[in-house]
Symmetry: C2
Subunit: 100 residues, 2 copies
Amino acid sequence: MKEPAQILEVDRLIHEPARLLIVTILSTAEKADFLFLLRETGLTRGNLSTHLSKLEAAGYVEIEKTYRGKLPLTLCSLTSTGQSAFEKYRTQIHQFLKSK
Amino acid sequence: MKEPAQILEVDRLIHEPARLLIVTILSTAEKADFLFLLRETGLTRGNLSTHLSKLEAAGYVEIEKTYRGKLPLTLCSLTSTGQSAFEKYRTQIHQFLKSK
DNA sequence: CAAACTGGTTTTCTTTACAAACTTGTTTTC
DNA sequence: GAAAACAAGTTTGTAAAGAAAACCAGTTTG
């Protein structure tokens, strides 16, 4: 086993395409609400919800539940932990794919 | 849903880290035998076997079973289909990660 | 000739991701 | 003013995927 096998250790929480997309969007927006993410990602509500929960459980995303008028409003933002994990993921993938 | 959602369509057969590693190794070697891949990847024999079968089923890898002396020898090589799928995957990921 | 080793494959177990159904509350409509 | 439709999410059920363990056919070793 040589060093290329590092790819086997990428953070699978971020590697999953749906979550990679979510995290990427969040990395460029201070805060995003649930419906915004829903539109941007094209995920179903159920899947967006569960992916966000996983990211929250990992401490990558902070979820703030409030109201817009009388309707529920869920605000999501990347924590600094999430930000670093994302940066790390990006450099790992880059490193791996760039070599031939 | 905007265009970033393209990432949701990456080829998951290649996206899986273990197979990404296998395919990457095969892309630089004409042919690789099972034990070579085993050492390079650090996967277990069982997992290497099933991942190779999936790649074969997809037509990405060709598996040739022969003998080295009296012992079984399994040779693996990337098909042209596999080569293109890999190239496509790389450019997609690159495209996606570079923006931001 | 029995035990250990080679080079794998198949089976079993757990974890995941997705879809569909459900929930809590709020507007509409009749 | 009750029923129906809608909004914003969550929970649940299921099927597929990945990892580990068990297995297997043949070979070499003691």
